[in-house]
């Protein structure tokens, strides 16, 4: 009861910072739950085509990406040329590598989840359909039927 004893506080009391870290931790956990980790870095340049009827890609943990595009300028173009290539995980690959990739992606999941694994084709808009058709054919023959064409939401001109 310092207030009534007549003793006047000259200095402002120090703020209790003890709960500050708790608040920050709460923020941290919030962001950790709503975000996903960034994918492996891309070696190919991708500008996805625009579409109006897009849907969200659900269940990120059940998605495997197939990136298609022209290798990035600089050392990648020197190494892999300027034609469209496929990037699986961290490697520039051939169409014939897809069955193995599909197999390893399926093996990485629990057995109950395997039928729901989606293969997302993230391709540059200037890619020729020949390559995409080859990828689709390989996926079809390997038994990966759920596919997803990545596209940005937006009006086409």
């Amino acid at each position: 009861m310092a207030r009534f004893t007549g003793k006047k506080a000259k200095e402002t009391p120090a703020l209790n910072m003890g709960s500050m870290s708790d608040i920050i931790f709460m923020l941290l956990f919030f962001f950790m739950t709503i975000t996903t980790m960034r994918e492996s870095s891309l070696y190919v340049k991708i500008t996805v085509p625009k579409a109006t009827e897009t849907v969200k890609l659900e269940k990120k943990s059940l998605v495997s990406y197939i990136n298609v595009g022209v290798p990035m300028q600089g050392e990648f173009q020197k190494k892999y040329g300027t034609e469209s290539r496929i990037q699986l995980n961290d490697m520039i690959s051939e169409v014939s590598d897809i069955p193995l990739f599909v197999e390893s992606e399926l093996q990485a999941r629990v057995e109950a989840d395997r039928p729901f694994v989606t293969f997302s084709i993230k391709a540059d808009k200037d890619t020729k359909m020949g390559l995409i058709s080859d990828i689709k054919e390989e996926l079809r023959n390997t038994g990966a039927f759920k596919i997803f064409y990545n596209a940005a939401k937006g009006e086409r001109k």
Partner: protein, 191 residues
């Protein structure tokens, strides 16, 4: 009683957690991927060589050539007409004898429904650009989505996107995604 333990200085704790927070903000991304979902048909059995015969009235052929020009049923067309043409084809509201037949299917929640037998056949060239291919897929999806939305408003009085799982399944059965993709042609391929 022993001596009082001196209070720990925890003011730098918040700095540490701020660092962690900043780190996670940098390495993670919030935006979810958007796109068009499709299901591939299972591979054909080896013995089956002949194509399944489909009546001409039940098929709507969309072709895209190597120069990204679009053709509907043999005549040159524009992508802006594609949605309406596809809706007209799949819906066949006036039971036109040149447009697809319908079969009656008993669907839970909806009762007996006329389900179109129409199939949209999509064929592209190996030289077609992915951009135009997605544009065509987008228009076809738009046609199907609009039809589903109309049916859903008629039957349930709600938007298609607001329906529950059972209602969604019922609508999906009444208006299936009937897109068949043919083997691409090889005219525009550079060797």
């Amino acid at each position: 009683m022993g001596r009082k333990t001196p209070g720990l200085n925890t003011s730098s704790m918040s700095d540490i957690s701020f660092l962690l927070l900043a780190f996670f903000l940098l390495v993670s991304n919030i935006n979810t991927d958007q796109g068009i979902a499709r299901r591939l048909p299972p591979p054909l059995p080896k013995e089956q060589k002949e194509d399944i015969q489909i009546k001409e009235r039940n098929i709507f052929v969309v072709k895209i050539n190597f120069a990204d020009r679009i053709q509907f049923n043999g005549e040159l067309g524009d992508i802006h007409d594609l949605k309406d043409r596809a809706k007209e084809f799949l819906g066949n509201p006036n039971n036109d004898p040149n447009l697809p037949e319908k079969t009656q299917i008993d669907i839970p929640l909806l009762g007996k429904m006329d389900v179109s037998k129409g199939v949209i056949s999509l064929q592209n060239d190996r030289g077609t650009s992915y951009d135009v291919y997605i544009a065509v897929q987008n228009e076809l999806t738009a046609a199907i989505n609009e039809m589903r939305d109309e049916l859903s408003r008629e039957k349930f009085g709600k938007k298609y996107s607001d329906l529950n799982d059972k209602q969604l399944d019922a609508i999906d059965m009444a208006i299936p995604v009937a897109i068949s993709e043919a083997e691409p042609t090889k005219i525009g391929e550079k060797k």
